[in-house]
């Protein structure tokens, strides 16, 4: 009889607890079954009235039921708490399409970016950096580079003067002289910096930047010049860039070369897809990018080297020109207007 009522009580509890949908309801059930006046407590009280031989067996059954009820109540409570937590977390969900939040970053100037790329290619080839003054003397800027006072090559470089003999360097080549005056070969050096020409239009700025480079040792040949510069151009531009070397003239190199790359816009074809001549290379398919040559023996004599014992190459390039080709910029003045709308494009 008691045993039966235990079974009934268990079934009833199970169906009640399944309905209990909140922590409060579960708490109420706990009181209803396990409280001082609870249904199980009541059974425990009736236990004393049972004959002694039935007590151990029933006592055990009763205890098991109480444990069962307690476990279920606890389990149900955990379940409900978990569900509630999930509900709250779900309610906290944010709109992930709102923008991220961050402070505005600054930008490095595109000329610095390109300059750094150029420098890094040469540093990895074992070159070192040398610097020279922006205000130069006539000797280092012209004369020691084999451009005596009445040389027509001086026409190619309109000069800003600060005094009779002092000027703003028109190229970074004087660094070559300054280094060679101080040191002996082997030398493998690049000299980046600002240079100045008395000129101002869409393709010329009174200030622009160059990287001069030179290598002097006992064994340097024109073929090395070709190799180093071809490697450099393919690193800085595209690995498949076509490069061509053709003879030219600079007073401080002999033989001299002008180096062209295949036009980056029309890829050397010289015309647009509509058959118009390419506006970047003016239809030639090639763009001048570097000047170079084997250092003239006269220059070696100026710095006290014996031209029969050493040889070397030198080259110079315009950083703005490379940046313009690389990024498709058509007006050099954009670099110096420093408009944030322009500068922010280089991230």
């Amino acid at each position: 009889m008691v045993r039966e009522s235990l079974e009934t009580l268990k079934d009833e509890f199970l169906s009640r607890i399944a309905e209990g949908a909140s922590e409060e309801e579960v708490e109420r059930l706990r009181i209803e079954y396990l409280g001082r006046k609870g249904k199980l407590t009541f059974l425990f009280r009736g236990f004393k009235e049972l004959p002694p031989e039935e007590r151990p067996e029933l006592g055990e059954a009763l205890n098991r039921l109480r444990q069962f009820v307690e476990d279920r109540l606890e389990f149900r409570l955990g379940e409900l708490k978990q569900r509630e937590k999930e509900r709250i977390l779900k309610a906290e969900r944010v709109d992930i399409t709102l923008p991220g939040s961050r402070w505005e970053r600054g930008r490095i100037h595109p000329l610095t970016l390109v300059m750094d790329e150029i420098i890094d290619v040469f540093l990895t080839m074992g070159f070192e950096i040398a610097r020279g003054p922006d205000i130069e003397d006539d000797y280092h800027n012209f004369e020691a580079l084999n451009m005596p006072p009445d040389h027509p090559a001086r026409d190619m470089q309109d000069t800003f003067f600060v005094s009779q003999d002092r000027l703003l360097r028109t190229h970074t080549s004087p660094v070559q002289i300054r280094v060679m005056e101080q040191r002996r070969p082997p030398l493998q050096i690049i000299a980046p910096g600002a240079v100045f020409r008395h000129d101002d239009d869409a393709t010329h700025s009174p200030m622009f930047h160059q990287v001069e480079g030179f290598m002097v040792d006992s064994h340097i040949a024109f073929s090395d010049l070709k190799g180093v510069l071809t490697h450099f151009l393919r690193q800085v531009l595209r690995p498949e860039t076509g490069v061509r070397f053709r003879p030219s003239f600079f007073p401080f190199t002999e033989p001299s070369a002008e180096i062209d790359i295949q036009c980056l816009l029309c890829e050397g074809g010289g015309s647009t897809s509509e058959g118009q001549p390419c506006r970047v290379c003016k239809g030639t398919g090639w763009l001048e990018i570097l000047g170079a040559g084997m250092i003239d023996p006269e220059v070696f004599r100026f710095v006290g080297y014996n031209p029969d014992q050493v040889s070397g190459f030198a080259f110079g390039m315009g950083v703005e020109r490379i940046a313009m080709l690389k990024y498709g910029i058509e007006d050099i003045r954009l670099f110096f207007q420093n408009d944030l709308r322009f500068l922010r494009q280089f991230s």
């Binding site: 923008p99 961050r102 402070w103 505005e104 970053r105 600054g106 930008r107 490095i108 100037h109 000329l111 610095t112 750094d116 540093l123 990895t124 080839m125 070192e128 950096i129 003054p133 922006d134 205000i135 009445d150 040389h151 027509p152 090559a153 800003f160 003067f161 600060v162 703003l168 493998q188 700025s205 009174p206 200030m207 064994h219 040949a221 024109f222 073929s223 090395d224 070709k226 190799g227 180093v228 071809t230 490697h231 061509r244 070397f245 053709r246 003879p247 030219s248 003239f249 002999e254 033989p255 084997m294 003239d296 023996p297 040889s311 670099f335 420093n338 408009d339 944030l340 709308r341 500068l343």
Partner: protein
């Protein structure tokens, strides 16, 4: 140098198309800048950029020689009318060279009965296609022959020469000459003149004189074909700012052996185009024969310099194709004599260039040289620059690159960190009147950038410039230094939803930048900060200079309210520092320290002090105690207002205590802190709070 393809073909049998010829010239160092078809005439006009060393290619003949060498075509010369032997010329004209070093050769011929008129159409068209204005048949013939041969010729109206005694001399005392463009030229004593007796009639190699010019009524023409010193012509032309076709050629070197052919060719054309009759004989004064000296060309040098092996036969063939004579051969090499028209070839290196050029640069292989480990690669200064740039970028500043030219006024107001030690460097030939000096400071450039960007509706402007500034020092010699300047204007740009509160930067943000830069450079020394001696463009109360010892390293502050008003801007901040100087304080090496073994204990301390009391004084005083248990001290708050009395402020510090060998007890720290607080109270007459 512009010319037509048909004209070139009068000098050489061109075997290739105009395009192929242009390519061959370009790849041989005579860059063809344009090649355009001449409408309907089956002809092409070509323009070659002739480098300054190739004066010989400023005539079609020279280019024809190149084409012949490059493509194997045969050279030929157009017809001439040589002089008939006789003394006619000698009786009519006398020529005397007084400065043979400046005029090594003077040749002349004379033509009578010339009828000056327009040139025949074919000549006019050619001249004009090649960029030379047709004038009359006599002048046109001289220009035509100059284009052909590269030899400038000048035609005088012989009837207008009073004495017919031609004297080539330096100007000396002769002061003036009216040139044929009608300009009166002031002469310098070194200018070379052609005179008729004592009367100047031409600036030698530069421009003829007005009075002896060929006119419509001219009957007798004296044709001059001379050779002048390049440097002398250049000096005169440059000083007088005359850039004539003649001076352009003489400066770059004309063939001294070419005068007679050019004159004979001109006489032929004058007879044809102007009906002239040549006078018998000619004048040819050649006091200084320009002789080519043989050059020794060593085979080893060729292969060493070019990185290729050229066979002896091939080298010889290439040199001969350029008109050179190979005189003799020895084990070392060959003796080579260049032709008279190649005055640029004087050294072995010049010959090697010719070999490389004709062999073809594209046939020389590309190699990488073996590079010696000279310890290059890491450049300390470059790496510091890069680190500081990266730091500033993270702080929201964008890099600007400005030109160094500025005005006298801006230099007077923004004098950088030079103080009164120096004056600005002036440009003698500035591009504009407001760009006559080199900047003393980077700030004016950033101000201009600020203005331009605000005009483009930028909401805020955070920028820096790492560039050079220039100054004349006390010895009047120019100094240059790399500075770093920064400008902070408006609330720092933020991406995302709009911030509830946008804070404009203040002085401490600027100081934070400087501290950050010092940290990035690894400089541990604390600079001294002072409000004394700040520039007049800065707010007198919200600005500072800083330095190490006596050496001023930089300044920062809010710009002066007057300047803001002038610019129509809200207050903003600037920083300028001597970057090059700072880098000298940067350590070359960093050494790591081990972590402390025992914990530290922190205690706060607040004191009420005078409103003008500098917070740093207490920090310095504590540090100078050199107490072994005091590890660090930092200011963390400054407060004014109730309940602090008017004119006073409260400063709060946090002090860290740590022992190297044990954990400090609370009691120990409390006692230390209590004693320290009491001493600070005494020393600074400060009231302790809390």
């Amino acid at each position: 140098m512009k010319f037509t393809f048909s004209w070139l073909r009068e000098f050489v049998d061109v075997k290739k198309s105009p395009q192929e010829t242009a390519y061959a010239l370009t790849m041989a160092g005579l860059e063809v800048e344009s090649l355009a078809s001449l409408g309907g005439q089956e002809d092409w006009v070509m323009e070659v950029a002739v480098t300054p060393n190739r004066g010989d290619c400023l005539g079609i003949l020279g280019l024809a020689r190149e084409v012949a060498a490059l493509t194997g075509g045969r050279l030929k010369l157009p017809p001439v009318l040589p002089h008939v032997k006789g003394s006619g010329m000698e009786r009519l004209v006398d020529v005397q060279i007084r400065s043979p070093s400046l005029c090594p050769r003077y040749s002349a011929r004379m033509v009578l009965g010339v009828r000056v008129a327009d040139s025949p159409d074919w000549m006019r068209v050619r001249l004009e296609v090649c960029g030379i204005r047709a004038i009359n048949n006599v002048v046109d013939v001289t220009n035509y022959v100059m284009l052909e041969t590269g030899q400038p010729l000048h035609a005088f109206d012989a009837d207008r020469l009073a004495t017919k005694r031609i004297v080539v001399r330096e100007a000396g005392g002769i002061a003036k000459l009216v040139t044929l463009d009608g300009t009166e030229r002031e002469l310098a004593s070194g200018d070379l003149l052609i005179c008729d007796g004592d009367v100047p009639i031409a600036l030698a190699g530069v421009m003829g004189g007005k009075d002896s010019e060929v006119q419509w009524d001219t009957h007798t023409v004296l044709l001059e074909g001379a050779h002048f010193d390049p440097a002398c012509v250049r000096r005169t032309a440059k000083r007088l700012a005359i850039h004539s076709e003649a001076s352009h050629r003489f400066e770059r070197g004309v063939d001294p052996e070419g005068t007679l052919y050019a004159l004979d060719r001109a006489v032929f054309l004058l007879a044809e185009a102007a009906g002239g009759v040549p006078v018998k004989g000619m004048v040819d004064r050649y006091p200084r024969r320009v002789k080519a000296t043989p050059i020794v060309l060593r085979e080893k040098r060729v292969s060493g310099l070019l990185g290729i092996e050229l066979s002896r036969r091939e080298a010889e063939r290439l040199l001969k194709s350029l008109g050179m004579q190979v005189q003799s051969r020895s084990k070392i090499g060959a003796r080579v004599v260049p032709p008279s028209y190649r005055r640029d070839l004087t050294r072995e290196a010049d010959l090697i260039e010719e070999l490389a050029r004709l062999h073809g640069y594209e046939k020389i292989p590309s190699t990488l040289p073996w590079v010696r480990p000279v310890g290059a690669g890491y450049d300390f200064r470059l790496q510091r620059e890069r680190k500081v740039r990266a730091f500033l970028l993270g702080e929201g500043l964008t890099e600007m690159i400005n030109l160094p030219f500025t005005s006298v006024e801006l230099n007077r107001r923004f004098y950088g960190l030079w103080g009164d030690r120096g004056a600005a460097v002036s440009i003698l030939n500035p591009l504009a009147q407001d760009k006559t000096e080199l900047r003393l400071s980077l700030i004016p450039g950033l101000l201009e950038n600020l203005r331009a960007n605000l005009a483009q509706k930028a909401r805020s402007f955070y920028a820096f410039d790492l560039g050079k500034v220039f100054c004349l020092n006390a010895q009047r010699s120019a100094e240059e230094k790399q500075y770093l300047a920064a400008l902070l204007c408006g609330a720092r740009g933020h991406r995302g939803l709009r911030l509830k509160e946008e804070l404009a930067p203040n002085l401490r943000d600027a100081k934070g930048l400087v501290e950050g830069i010092l940290e990035v450079l690894g400089i541990e020394a604390q600079p001294t900060w002072s409000g004394v001696g700040v520039g007049s463009f800065l707010h007198p109360g919200k600005a500072a200079v800083f330095g190490f010892g006596e050496r001023e390293m930089g300044c920062l502050g809010e710009v002066h309210p007057d300047l803001c008003e002038e610019l129509g801007l809200a207050p903003f901040l600037v920083v300028e520092l001597d970057f090059e100087g700072l880098v000298q304080y940067a350590p070359r090496r960093l050494a790591a320290r081990p972590l402390p073994r025992f914990p530290s204990v922190e205690r706060d301390l607040a004191v009420v002090v005078d409103g003008t009391f500098p917070a740093q004084r207490i920090v310095s005083w504590i540090k100078e105690l050199n107490h072994s248990l005091i590890e660090d001290v930092q200011v963390f708050d400054e407060y004014r207002g109730s309940p602090i009395p008017e004119g006073k402020k409260s400063l709060a510090y946090t002090i860290s205590y740590r022992a190297e060998d044990r954990t400090l007890t609370d009691a120990e720290v409390n006692q230390l802190h209590h004693e320290l607080a009491a001493r600070i109270g005494d020393v600074f007459r400060a009231k302790l709070r809390g």
